[in-house]
Amino acid sequence: MEPSNEQLYCRTRKGDQGAMETLYERCEPPLYRYAFQLSGSRAVAEEVTHEAFLQIIRPESRFNPDRGSLEAYLYGTVRNLIRAARRSQAVEGIEEPAAEDDILRALIDEEMSLALHSALQELPSPFRDAVFLCDLEERSYEEAATTLGCPVGTIRSRLHRARQLLAARLKPLRLSAVSIAR
């Protein structure tokens, strides 16, 4: 049986580098994708993901396994760091989010996918997280609930509501595409 993330974390606190490698391999890719999807920038995603991991390896790490899962802590950290980065950009007078700098947007050539990406960024954070974990990362409701630290029923209702909001944004585009095709 594979050790849980929290067990690996406890081993890293004792200096077990192997546990740190395993934890990184397991948690970094989805965390980076989450940051990338949220910020639309590879540079920002790299930076905040790296910082989130630095926070858990530092001696003064504030993560407490009794208060929630490690993933919930990491996702929360990434979310806060991106929020802080946006605030500092706003203070410096930089447009937020910088659409022209949004590499993810540039990568999405298909109109509906682009609209989905934009709509996702505008969703309230709890709804967006549910869509990210269940639809983009293809995790089960139970896994998403563990990661976000909430009941399975809450995940279901958030996902249902999020899909309604996303579909409402995408339907007009689909209709126009169909009418043009005719």
Binding site: K14, Q17, Y24, P29, R33, T49, I57, A115, K171
Partner: protein, 170 residues
């Protein structure tokens, strides 16, 4: 919301979600980020060292304290000379009759004897014979002469004994 609407929503979202998922699937931080994090991990744990390093440090500190204690107890006289602490209890009791101790100090008449473990301070100064006489010392020489002396002060700051520097007999 009826089933028809739900199915319609699912149909609208299905393909864009699949595309976005496929596009994100290959994304991850570059390898140098992982290497830098691991280097930082190793650095942090090398510095803190874990429980074994702490235990080693504690043992070393205990050994050092033990060595200092043994050296201190083995050289009480030198400790007295440095003026840190009187190691032998009641060392001045035997000179209350006016005789000098083995270090050449003569007790000042009617001064309080040093207590066991009392901290002392020795100050070298030049005094007149008259000042020594005022302290109660009997002098075979003239009161107007100047003398180089070591004055031993107790913990309370009062002088307890005097030693001639050039001639240890007053």
């Amino acid at each position: 919301m009826d089933r028809k609407d739900w199915l319609e929503d699912e149909e609208v979202l299905q393909e864009p979600i699949r595309r976005l998922r496929a596009m994100l699937a290959e994304e991850r931080s570059p390898e140098w980020r992982r290497q830098r994090l691991m280097a930082e991990f190793v650095r942090l744990h090398r510095r803190s060292g874990g429980w074994l390093a702490w235990a080693t440090r504690a043992a070393a500190a205990a050994l050092l304290a033990l060595a200092v204690t043994l050296v201190w107890r083995g050289a009480p006289e030198s400790a007295q000379r440095t003026g840190i602490e009187v190691a032998q209890p009641g060392i001045w009791n035997h000179v209350l009759d006016g005789s000098m101790d083995e270090n050449g100090f003569a007790p000042i008449p009617y001064a309080m004897p040093l207590a066991a473990g009392e901290c002392i301070r020795v100050m070298r100064t030049e005094v007149t014979g008259a000042a020594l006489a005022q302290m109660g010392m009997s002098l075979p020489w003239g009161y107007e002469d100047d003398f180089d002396v070591d004055i031993l002060f107790g913990d309370d700051g009062f002088p307890r004994a005097v030693r001639m520097v050039s001639n240890t007999e007053i």
